[in-house]
């Protein structure tokens, strides 16, 4: 027996949901969705759960992650209830529920808090730079180590427990019986979806959106690899240097398109931007751009006289690694792929 909770509508609207309460349950959204299936039928069900405030049901559901937001449901909705945006908001809300620290939720709801965190990171970087006397070599050295430490810490302390919580809510709590061998069998799906996002190809809109996203992910992951494991900034191998340039340029170009699309609001997916969305695309752009500039300045022997550039890059890096990756929109990279994995287990 579930208790109707009208407060939930207020909570979810803080995550950006619009007029979903206008829904009169015609089901056009579900009928029009090209990803919705008999077994995994959405978005109407999610709208219904949200209207009634059935938090447990929403938490137990993977459906918000199965939507790749082509926006067709919102276009077809006879009541302008914007189901696509509700699904987006539910993803934000779920992100904050999976996060054991609770910081995710706080930052989604409060722009002030997010800005404070960004400023704190900036102050930290400057303080650190001051402590080493603004010596470039020490700063670059630290920057390189910071990346590795941050990846390890954030991954094991924040992200791994969060993924376990996601499993807990969606598989364990609803008492889904999954034989152990299935966990192994499904790993193939996990990686395929993680690196290809191929489900988005099933969406109704053009596949260019998928392609842009696909190369962005590849560029981002390989730049991460190039800087962290191949130590791009210290590299002397021409191949590695050129590789890094290409990756950072791709990131910058694609994210410029994403940012301009959000400004123009020309696609369903870019119509409603929350602060978290802006932070994510802008910081990704800054990452690509500053990394490119730093390497360029190194190659032109200008970095020594332009230490500020590295400081900017380091600040962006720290903010990205400590705020956006663990508590911001970056997590959708993990949750989306794990949702496909867990959905496979449930099937």
């Amino acid at each position: 027996m579930a208790r109707v909770n009208p407060e939930f509508a207020t909570e979810i609207s803080k995550s950006g949901a619009g007029d979903f309460k206008a829904c009169f349950n015609c089901g056009t959204c579900t009928a029009t969705c090209s990803l919705s299936t008999t077994e995994n039928s959405f978005p109407r069900e999610m709208i219904r759960y949200s209207t009634l405030g059935l938090e447990d049901e929403i938490k137990a559901s993977l459906k918000p992650w199965l939507c790749y937001y082509c926006g067709e449901c919102s276009t077809q909705c006879p009541r302008q209830a914007n189901p696509g945006e509700l699904m987006m908001s539910l993803r934000r809300w779920l992100t904050s529920k999976y996060d054991w620290t609770g910081l995710s939720g706080l930052m989604y709801k409060s722009l002030t808090l997010s800005l404070a965190a960004f400023i704190l990171a900036l102050v930290g970087v400057i303080a650190f730079a001051g402590s080493v006397g603004f010596e470039l070599e020490k700063m670059v050295h630290f920057g390189h180590y910071f990346e590795m430490i941050a990846i390890g810490t954030v991954g094991f302390v924040i992200l791994l427990p969060n993924i376990i919580r996601m499993w807990w809510f969606t598989i364990h709590k609803p008492k889904t019986k999954v034989p152990f061998v299935n966990y192994l069998k499904a790993t193939g799906d996990l990686f395929v979806h993680m690196f290809t996002q191929k489900r988005a190809l099933g969406c109704d809109d053009n596949q260019f959106r998928w392609f842009e996203h696909f190369i962005l992910v590849l560029a981002y992951l390989s730049l991460l690899f190039t800087t962290v494991f191949l130590d791009w900034f210290a590299a002397t191998n021409l191949f590695i240097i050129v590789l890094g340039y290409i990756e950072s340029v791709i990131i910058a170009v694609v994210t410029v398109d994403f940012v301009s699309s959000r400004m123009k609001k020309d696609k369903a997916v870019s119509k409603n931007s929350q602060p978290s969305d802006w932070f994510f695309v802008i910081w990704l752009l800054l990452m690509g751009l500053t990394a490119f500039m730093v390497r360029l300045f190194i190659d032109l022997n200008l970095l020594e006289t332009n230490k500020w550039l590295y400081l900017v890059h380091l600040t962006v890096l720290v903010q990205w690694a400590l705020i956006i990756v663990p508590f911001g929109k970056w997590t959708h990279f993990l949750y989306r792929s794990f949702a496909m994995y867990l959905a496979k287990l449930k099937a």
Binding site: M1, A2, R3, V4, P6, A9, D19, K21, A22, C23, F24, N25, E45, R48, Y49, T51, L52, L54, R79
Partner: protein, 733 residues
């Protein structure tokens, strides 16, 4: 007996003559006694034929005519007019239906259709030969109308009737006008307040010199009929001295300290024993609850000039030409325990809730509890599959949703839950539903099979419901108040009103019109009309529309001062009648009375009331009562006529070539069959082959050959007996 009868048999183009041999029938009847003319005509209703008939009547001095054509529903009046134009009484005309009753239903048996047509025509001839010349009954009517019920429908109708030049008596049972809408604050869709509308209408009524309003007035006795109804109206006393100074009455009201149950507010407040329903209630004269002031002798003597506790009720005798009944509805009253009504605190009905809102200007508080969450349960007492009230009350969905919008506007922080079965906010009202959903009202859908259950968890009201929109999930709704959206039911006193005016009551207990589309405000009682919700659930707009159309109908009826009614009514043979009263007992309209005729007790039929239904005729033990135009003589002669053996001669075959092929007489079947049969003769040919050989459209050939196959006339190649037409078509394309 008529001896110069004209008989016209219509071809109706080919509608009749394709199957019924009308030419043969014409010849047959022409030879009979008493028939001057019998002929077949291509279109009996055509202008040219009508003129010819008029000429025939005059030239041949016809005394009766029969037209055998289509249904009298279509052309009875056409040919009655022809009779009148020819100088005949229209009652000497009989229409026989040989199209809907012969050619169309018996197209597969043309010979039998012709025989049946002959029988029907003969019955018609026999009937017309016994027909009498009867004139319409003219009744003089009084241009005065009684409007029963001064709600919004009654008031609007009274105004229109008066403006159309009728004298109007408007009577209201309550002491104040306005009916139900006075109880409601803002009304959808305009947002106007009910009492403001009432005040405006009242002002207008007061400005009309030919409307007389009686409040506290009920119908006591009704007699008479169309044009001259005698209605006794009982007027209850107000116990206020009519001549008293207004200020003195006001002071008495102010100083009164005796409080009584406030019916207007459903007992949610108390009112003084000298009261008005609400401060602006009209007429602006309070009412005294004399019973409550019985022992207040000091008070009564102090205000003896203003009060008159000895006032008696009055009976007024009115004579009116017509009556408009607009008595309205009652709200369904839930049984004790129905959804916790009266057994669980804070469960009230929608009308009660609306009064509560009116009584709570700032905060919504009930039973000392501030109300923040309201659950509405829809369709209470309505749309019952098993109960009596199977209908939908039309206005409650919108009313509830509008209330929900008002709630948010008035008290801000309120959450509403709507437990509904279907939302019926038809027409422009849909906008409100949209607004309600957008403001965050939560809708849960239940089914009548699994209605919500209202219960208590400690002191909290919990409504449990299976939500059909969430895969029938069991949901709990926590609420501070449950509002039962009760629909409309017929008034408690509708039985009495019906008995007074003889208005029939439907199975839903509302008053019945004659025909929902074509006579929507007329009742079977001539001169008695219904308007508004006494007829069935309506919203305010619809109520006013119906009462205004009744007003227009009444005005048209009374306009000339006389009303002409059909002469088809019962009549009593005074010589035979011995007055046993059986006819009067069965008469639904009380049209029959016992009278004294030359010292003999006999039955007398009131011509204005009798509808000619005929129920009295068969119960008369001495056969003294009969219905004009349906006398025993006429009916028996018709039966005789129909039973007469009719020999329909074979059609004169010399003129038409008849080829016997496959045992089928070609005359009876379409021409194309002949061609097909000739082509097929002894050989097996497929449909495309046949089509090519006779150079006809293959689809047409397919259709006909399938039909021929069905009647086992012929079978095409590649087609077996069981295959259907479309199947064959698909297979061979």
């Amino acid at each position: 007996m008529k001896e110069r009868i004209g008989v016209y048999i219509c071809h109706c183009g080919g509608n009749i003559s394709d199957y019924v041999d009308v030419e043969e029938l014409g010849k047959m009847f022409h030879a009979e006694d008493g028939i001057v003319i019998a002929k077949d005509v291509m279109f009996a209703c055509a202008d040219s034929n009508q003129k010819a008939m008029v000429n025939d009547i005059k030239e041949h001095n016809l005394d009766a005519i029969v037209v055998a054509s289509c249904s009298p529903k279509l052309h009875l009046h056409t040919f009655k007019n022809v009779a009148t134009r020819g100088g005949l009484n229209p009652t000497n005309y009989v229409q026989v239906n040989i199209r809907e009753q012969c050619s169309w239903p018996h197209s597969d048996k043309p010979r039998e259709a012709t025989v049946k047509a002959a029988g029907l025509i003969r019955a018609g001839i026999n009937r017309v030969s016994h027909s009498e010349s009867l004139d319409n009954i003219e009744i003089s009517v009084k241009k005065t109308v009684l409007v029963v019920g001064a709600g919004v429908s009654g008031m609007k109708a009274a105004l229109d009737l008066s403006k159309l030049g009728n004298e109007v008596y408007l009577i209201e049972k309550d002491y104040f006008v306005g009916g139900r809408i006075a109880q409601y604050e803002k009304l959808f869709m305009s947002g106007q307040k009910g009492k403001d509308i009432v005040a405006a209408l009242y002002k207008e009524i007061k400005n009309q010199t030919n409307i007389t309003l009686f409040t506290g007035a009920t119908v006591d006795k009704v007699s008479g009929s169309l044009g001259n109804f005698h209605v006794d109206v009982k007027v209850k006393p107000r116990f206020i001295n009519g001549k008293a100074d207004k200020q003195a009455v006001k002071t008495a009201m102010e100083e009164c300290r005796v409080f009584i149950h406030d019916d207007f507010n459903f007992g949610m407040a108390k009112r003084k024993a000298i009261y008005k329903n609400y401060p602006e209630a009209l007429p602006d004269v309070p009412v005294v609850d004399a019973e409550a002031l019985k022992n207040e002798t000091d008070f009564v003597s102090k205000f003896s000039a203003a009060l008159n506790l000895n006032e008696k009720e009055e009976i007024l005798s009115l004579i009116v030409g017509s009556v408009l009944v607009s008595t309205g509805y009652d709200s369904y009253q839930p049984a004790e325990g129905e959804y916790g009504y009266k057994t669980i605190p804070n469960v009230i009905t929608l009308p009660e809730f609306k009064r509560l809102m009116e009584l709570s200007p700032d905060k919504l508080i009930y039973n000392d509890k501030q109300i923040k969450k309201v659950a509405f349960i829809y369709c209470v007492g309505n749309r019952q599959k098993k109960g009596d009230n199977k209908y939908c009350s039309r206005q409650c969905c919108t009313s509830t949703i509008y209330t929900s919008l008002q709630l948010k506007e008035k008290y801000r922080d309120i959450t509403t839950f709507h437990l509904y079965r279907d939302i019926r906010t038809y027409g422009k009202q849909e906008i409100l539903y949209d607004q309600s959903a957008k403001q965050g009202d939560i809708y849960l859908r239940y089914d009548e099979k699994e209605p919500p259950v209202v219960g208590l968890d400690g002191k909290t009201i919990i409504v449990k419901v299976k939500d059909y929109l969430t895969a029938k999930m069991e949901m709990e709704v926590e609420a501070d108040m449950v509002v039962l959206v009760t629909g409309m039911v017929a008034r408690e006193d509708s039985q009495q009103i019906s008995e007074h005016f003889k208005i029939p009551i439907g199975s839903d207990k509302f008053f019945n019109e004659i025909h929902p589309k074509l006579k929507p405000v007329e009742t079977v009682i001539k001169g008695v009309y219904i308007g508004g919700t006494c007829q069935g659930p309506k919203n305010i707009s619809e109520s006013v529309q119906s009462s205004l159309s009744a007003a227009a109908k009444i005005s048209a009826l009374l306009k000339s001062g006389t009303v002409s009614v059909d002469p088809i009514i019962a009549r009593v043979d005074a010589d035979v009648c011995t007055w046993c009263g059986k006819c009067a007992n069965v008469c639904d309209y009380t049209a029959i009375k016992e009278v004294d005729a030359d010292g003999k007790r006999i039955a007398l039929v009131n011509k204005a009331i009798c509808t000619g239904c005929g129920i009295c005729a068969p119960v008369c033990p001495v056969n003294a009562i009969e219905i004009a135009q349906y006398t025993d003589m006429e009916i028996e002669s018709m039966i005789d006529g129909f039973m007469d053996k009719t020999e329909v001669k074979e059609k004169d075959t010399t003129a038409v070539e008849v080829v016997e092929t496959g045992g089928v007489r070609m005359k009876e079947y379409p021409q194309i069959w002949k061609q097909i049969l000739q082509t097929m003769e002894g050989t097996k040919k497929s449909i495309p082959q046949v089509a090519t050989e006779i150079s006809a459209d293959p689809n047409v050939v397919t259709y006909h050959m399938m039909t021929m196959n069905k009647y086992s006339v012929v079978m095409a190649d590649g087609m077996d007996e069981k295959e259907e037409y479309f199947y064959y078509k698909i297979k061979n394309q």
